[in-house]
C-alpha cells in the first residue's frame, strides 16, 4: 500500500513561517489553558531542538524569541491504571514461572515432591492475589459524568479488564491441565502398586486369616489416602472455580463482546450522546403515563364515589 510523507514539506513551511513570525511577541500563549492538574512550564525554541532548557519562565520576562509551552501532568487515575498494568505484567511473569514449576513437578523424581508442591501452591496463591487486587483497583477507575476524561477512563478500564480476564482464564487452564496430569500419574502409580501388591500376595491366597486381613487393611489405607488426596484436589478446583467465576462476573460487565454492536467504533461515538438523551426521554414518558395513567383515573373516581356514598349515608341518617 502506498503512502506519502509530507512532513518534510510541512516542516519547511513551518520554519520559514516561524522566522517571519518571530519578531512578534507571543506572550499570549501562556495562561490561556485550564489544565486539569499542576502544570510544568517549559521554555524552548522548538520541540525539535535538542537543546531545550527546563527552566521555569515567568510571564513578566520578555519571552524574546522563545515560546512557552505548558505541559500538564496526567490526571491521578493514570497512576492507578499504570499500577494495574504493572501488576498484570508481574502476574504474567509469575505465570511463566508457574508453568515451569508444573512441568518440574510432573517429572518423575526421587524426592517426595513436597517442595515442588509448596512452590506451586505459593505461586498460585500469589498470582490469584495479584489478580484479585488488580480487579479491585479496576473498580476504582470507574468515573461518573459523561465528560471526555470519563470516556478515556472507561476505555482504559475495558482494556485492562480484557487483559485480566485473559490472564485468569489462562491460569485456570494451566491449573486444570496440571491437576488432570497429576491425577493420571497418581492413578497409574496407585494401580501399579495395587497390581504389585496383588501379585505378591497371590501365592498366599490359601492362607486366610491375618495375612489377608493385613492385605485388606493396606488396601483400605491406600484407597483412603487416595480419596483424601482426591478430596483435597477437588477442594482446590472448587476454590479456583469460585474465584474465577467471581472475577469473570465482575469483569463481564466491562469486557467488550467481540463482533457485536458494542465493538463498533461508530456505535461508541454516537452512543455517548444519545444514551443520556434516551434515558431522559424514557423518564419523561414514564412520568407522563403515570400521571395520565388509567390507574390514577380509576382510583380517583373510586375515591370520589366513596365520598358521595358516605355523604348520602349521612344525609339518609339525618333525614330519617
Amino acid at each position: 500500500m502506498a503512502t506519502r510523507n509530507r512532513t518534510l514539506l510541512f516542516r519547511k513551511y513551518r520554519n520559514s513561517l516561524r522566522s517571519v513570525r518571530a519578531p512578534l511577541s507571543s506572550s499570549s500563549l501562556t495562561g490561556t489553558r485550564s489544565g486539569v492538574g499542576p502544570v510544568i512550564e517549559m521554555a524552548s525554541t522548538s520541540l525539535l531542538n535538542p537543546n531545550r532548557s527546563y527552566a521555569p519562565v515567568s510571564t513578566t520576562e520578555d519571552p524574546g524569541n522563545s515560546s512557552a509551552i505548558t505541559v500538564g501532568l496526567p490526571p491521578a487515575w493514570v497512576d492507578v491504571s499504570e499500577e494495574i498494568s504493572v501488576n498484570i505484567q508481574r502476574a504474567r511473569t509469575k505465570m511463566a514461572e508457574l508453568g515451569k514449576a508444573h512441568a518440574k513437578a510432573l517429572m518423575p523424581s526421587f524426592g517426595d515432591g513436597k517442595e515442588d508442591q509448596h512452590n506451586i501452591e505459593s505461586l498460585t496463591q500469589e498470582i490469584t492475589f495479584l489478580l484479585k487486587k488488580s480487579e479491585k483497583q479496576l473498580q476504582r477507575l470507574s468515573a461518573a459524568g459523561p465528560s471526555e476524561d470519563s470516556n478515556v477512563r472507561k476505555n482504559v478500564q475495558r482494556s485492562l479488564a480484557t487483559d485480566l480476564q485473559l490472564l485468569s482464564m489462562e491460569l485456570r487452564k494451566k491449573q486444570s491441565t496440571y491437576l488432570k496430569r497429576l491425577r493420571q500419574q497418581k492413578e497409574d502409580g496407585v494401580d501399579l502398586e495395587m497390581n504389585l501388591s496383588r501379585n505378591r500376595y497371590r501365592p498366599d491366597e490359601d492362607d486366610f486369616g491375618d495375612m489377608l486381613n493385613e492385605n485388606q487393611m493396606s488396601k483400605i489405607k491406600k484407597s483412603e489416602e487416595v480419596s483424601v488426596e482426591r478430596e483435597k484436589e477437588i477442594q482446590q478446583v472448587v476454590e479456583s472455580v469460585n474465584d474465577l467465576a467471581q472475577i469473570m462476573k465482575d469483569l463481564s460487565t466491562l469486557v467488550i463482546d467481540q463482533g457485536t454492536i458494542v465493538d463498533r467504533i461508530d456505535y461508541n461515538i454516537e452512543n455517548v450522546g444519545t444514551t443520556v438523551e434516551d434515558g431522559l426521554k424514557q423518564l419523561q414518558k414514564a412520568e407522563r403515563t403515570q400521571r395520565h395513567g388509567g390507574m390514577v383515573k380509576c382510583a380517583s373516581v373510586l375515591v370520589i364515589l366513596c365520598f358521595i356514598m358516605l355523604l348520602l349515608l349521612i344525609l339518609k341518617e339525618i333525614f330519617v
Partner: protein, 592 residues
C-alpha cells in the same frame, strides 16, 4: 479481501509507532472507513483510549496533554479549517496528522501557518479513502449521489464536486493496491466519460510520479460504467440474505438498524416456522432485546453470515433452524451440571456460549422481521411479477399482471411504483396506449406519487440511453439464450434475474468487451485479458451485483474482479435519487 487488508494495514501503521495513550480523531466519512474494518477492542489494544469526531472536539475545553492525538481525516477545506483552529489551540501533547487522500500544497501551507506551538510531529497521506465492506466490494457512501443524473449545464459545480469525490475514491483504491490501470468507460454516459478522463489525467499526468508503480505483465483494468445502463437491478426485490436485509430493512456500513421497523402493527399474522422454535428454546429471551437495537452483519466476524450471505431465503431458514438446534443441544448440556468437572467446564466455556447465544438471537431476529415484512407487503406475489417483467417475455400477460397488482389494495405504494417502472423499462415502445393507462392508474392510486417520475426514469435510462443488452432482446444470440433458459425452466422463480454486470464480466473474461461500447481513454490500450479488473459504477451498486462479483471470483477464471460504487443502493435509495434529480432538473429548467 485485499481492500479490507489494505485499510487495516494503514490503520495499524498509523498507530504502531506512536507510544503511550492516544486519542483518534475522525471525520464523518473516515469514521465509516475505519469502523467497518477495525473494532473498538482492537483500538484499545493499541492504546487508543478515546475516539472523537473532529467537529465535536473543538467544543470542549478540557486540556488532555497526556494524550497524543492521531488525526485521520479527509483533506477537505472544511476539515482543514477546523484543524487550523485546533492546532492554534492545542489540547493534546502531540499531533500526528494522517490524510486519506492527496493534500494540496496550499493546504500544507495553511496548516504550517497555524501550527505556532509546533505540536505537529508528522503529516502523512494514507490512502484509505473508501469503505471496504466486503472482500470484493467497496463504496464511497456519497450523500449527494443523485448528481450523476443531472446534466452539466444545470448544476456544473455539483457535478464537479461529485466527479472530484469519485476520482479521489478511485485513486485511493489504486494507491492502496499499488497499481496503475488502463481505463475504459461506457460510451453513452457523459458522467462516466468525464470521470474516466479526469482519473486518467490524475494518474498519468498530475501525480504521475506517485502512481508510477512496478509494472506487471498485464495492467489492471478500470471500467467506469453508469447505473442507468441497468436500472432494473436496484428496482427488484431481493431474496438472498445480504441483499434482502438491505432491501427490506437497510444495511449501512454493515450495520442493521432494527429500531426503524419496530412499528409494525402487533396483530399481523406471522407465518414463520422459526417462531415455534423461538418459543421452545427458552434461552432466546434475548430476541426481544434485539428488536430495539442495532446489529452487525459482517462476513469477516460472523462465520454463519459469511457462509449464508449469498444464499436464498428458503435455504437460510433451514440453516438457521440447524443452528438453533445445535444451540439448543449446547444449552441443554450446560444446564445438566452434575459434577465438579462439569462446573469447571461450564465456567471455561461460558464466553463461547454467550457469543453463540448472541449470534443465534441476531439471525433469528433478522429473519423473523423480514418474514413479517414479506407477509405484510405480499412480496412473494409482487416479486414473482417483478421477475417475470425482468426476465421473461409476453407484453400482454405482463400488462394484465401489473394491472391486477395495481388494483390490489394490500400492495404498497412503493411496490406499485416499482412494478410500473419495470414494465415501462421493458415495454417502453410496445403498446404506448396501455403504458399511458398504467401511468394514470398509478397516479390515481398512489397519492404520494410524484407525477412524471416514471417518464423521468425513461428519459434517463430508456432504451435509447442504454448500451448493454439489458433484457437480452437485442441480438439473436441473446434471444436464443433466453428462449433456451425459458424452456429449461428455472430453479427458483425469485432469483432468476442476473444483473447486467454479469454479462459485462463474462465479456471481459472472454476478452470480448466491445471497443465501440466501452472505449479506452485517450491512447490507452490493452492487448489480451487483464488479470485484475476494478469496475466502478457511477450512481451506486447493489448487493445483488456484489454477490454476482463474489460468485464470479469464486470460479477462479484467472481474473479478479472488484466492484465499487458511489453508494450502495436499494429500491428506496434509487427512487429517492430519481426524485431528487427530477426536482433539480425541473427547477433548473425553470431557471433557464
Amino acid at each position: 479481501m485485499v481492500l479490507v487488508t489494505s485499510v487495516r494495514d494503514y490503520i495499524n501503521r498509523m498507530l504502531q509507532d506512536i507510544s503511550g495513550m492516544k486519542v483518534l480523531i475522525l471525520d464523518s466519512e473516515t469514521v465509516s472507513n475505519v469502523s467497518i474494518v477495525y473494532s473498538q477492542s482492537e483500538l484499545l489494544q493499541k492504546e487508543v483510549f478515546l475516539v472523537e469526531m473532529i467537529d465535536s472536539i473543538s467544543v470542549s475545553k478540557e486540556s488532555m496533554s497526556h494524550l497524543k492525538a492521531v488525526y485521520f481525516i479527509r483533506p477537505t477545506s472544511e476539515n482543514i479549517q477546523k484543524l487550523r483552529y485546533q492546532l492554534a489551540h492545542p489540547r493534546f501533547g502531540e499531533y500526528h496528522l494522517f490524510f486519506s487522500n492527496l493534500l494540496k500544497d496550499t493546504q500544507i501551507h495553511i496548516l504550517a501557518d497555524s501550527d505556532e506551538q509546533e505540536v505537529v510531529q508528522q503529516v502523512q497521506e494514507y490512502y484509505a479513502d473508501f469503505v471496504a465492506g466486503d472482500p470484493y466490494h467497496f463504496t464511497l457512501n456519497m450523500a449527494s449521489n443523485h448528481l450523476y443524473m443531472i446534466p452539466a449545464v444545470v448544476d456544473p459545480s455539483g457535478l464537479q464536486r461529485f466527479s472530484d469525490r469519485v476520482v479521489d475514491g478511485i485513486a485511493a483504491v489504486f494507491l492502496a493496491l499499488k497499481r496503475r490501470p488502463v481505463i475504459r468507460y461506457q460510451r453513452t454516459s457523459d458522467t462516466a466519460k468525464r470521470i474516466a478522463q479526469e482519473t486518467a489525467k490524475l494518474m498519468y499526468q498530475h501525480e504521475s510520479a506517485l502512481f508510477d508503480f512496478r509494472r506487471t505483465e498485464s495492467s489492471p483494468l478500470l471500467l467506469v460504467i453508469d447505473r442507468r445502463d441497468d436500472p432494473v437491478t436496484p428496482l427488484l426485490n431481493q431474496w438472498t440474505y445480504q441483499a434482502m436485509v438491505h432491501e427490506l430493512i437497510g444495511l449501512q456500513d454493515n450495520k442493521v438498524d432494527l429500531k426503524a421497523i419496530g412499528s409494525l402493527p402487533k396483530d399481523q399474522q406471522v407465518v414463520s416456522f422459526l417462531q415455534c422454535h423461538v418459543l421452545l428454546v427458552g434461552n432466546l429471551y434475548l430476541i426481544h432485546l434485539f428488536s430495539w437495537q442495532e446489529v452487525v452483519l459482517s462476513s469477516e466476524q460472523d462465520a454463519f453470515f459469511k457462509s449464508n450471505m449469498y444464499e436464498n431465503f428458503g435455504d437460510i431458514g433451514m440453516n438457521i433452524k440447524r443452528m438453533v438446534d445445535d444451540f439448543q443441544q449446547v444449552a441443554k448440556s450446560n444446564q445438566n451440571i452434575q459434577t465438579v468437572e462439569d462446573m469447571a467446564r461450564f465456567v471455561d466455556n461460558y464466553p463461547e456460549y454467550k457469543k453463540m447465544q448472541g449470534n443465534v438471537s441476531k439471525h433469528v431476529t433478522l429473519v423473523t422481521e423480514m418474514s413479517k415484512l414479506v407477509e405484510a407487503r405480499k412480496l412473494m406475489m409482487v416479486s414473482q411479477t417483478e421477475q417475470d417483467l425482468a426476465c421473461n417475455g409476453g407484453q400482454g400477460a405482463a400488462y394484465e399482471a401489473v394491472t391486477n397488482l395495481l388494483n390490489n389494495e394490500s400492495v404498497s405504494d412503493i411496490d406499485r411504483l416499482r412494478l410500473v417502472m419495470l414494465y415501462a423499462l421493458r415495454y417502453e415502445k410496445e403498446n404506448p396506449v396501455q403504458l399511458m393507462q398504467l401511468f394514470n392508474k398509478l397516479a390515481s392510486r398512489s397519492p404520494k406519487y410524484k407525477p412524471g417520475l416514471v417518464q423521468f426514469l425513461l428519459k434517463q435510462a430508456g432504451v435509447e440511453k442504454r448500451t448493454g443488452d439489458l433484457f437480452g432482446n437485442r441480438d439473436l444470440l441473446n434471444i436464443a439464450r433466453n428462449m433456451a433458459r425459458g424452456l429449461k425452466g428455472v430453479e427458483n422463480v425469485y432469483t432468476q434475474h442476473q444483473p447486467l454486470l454479469f454479462q459485462t464480466m463474462e465479456s471481459i473474461t472472454r476478452g470480448r468487451l466491445r471497443d465501440v461500447d466501452y472505449p479506452f481513454v485517450g491512447d490507452h490500450f490493452q492487448q489480451g485479458r487483464p488479470q485484475e479488473v476494478v469496475i466502478f459504477m457511477v450512481g451506486g451498486t447493489t448487493y445483488e451485483e456484489s454477490r454476482s462479483v463474489a460468485l464470479q471470483n469464486a470460479t477462479n477464471s484467472g481474473i479478479r474482479f472488484i466492484l465499487g460504487g458511489s453508494a450502495v443502493l436499494n429500491s428506496k435509495r434509487f427512487l429517492k435519487d430519481l426524485e431528487e434529480a427530477q426536482r433539480i432538473s425541473r427547477s433548473g429548467s425553470h431557471m433557464v
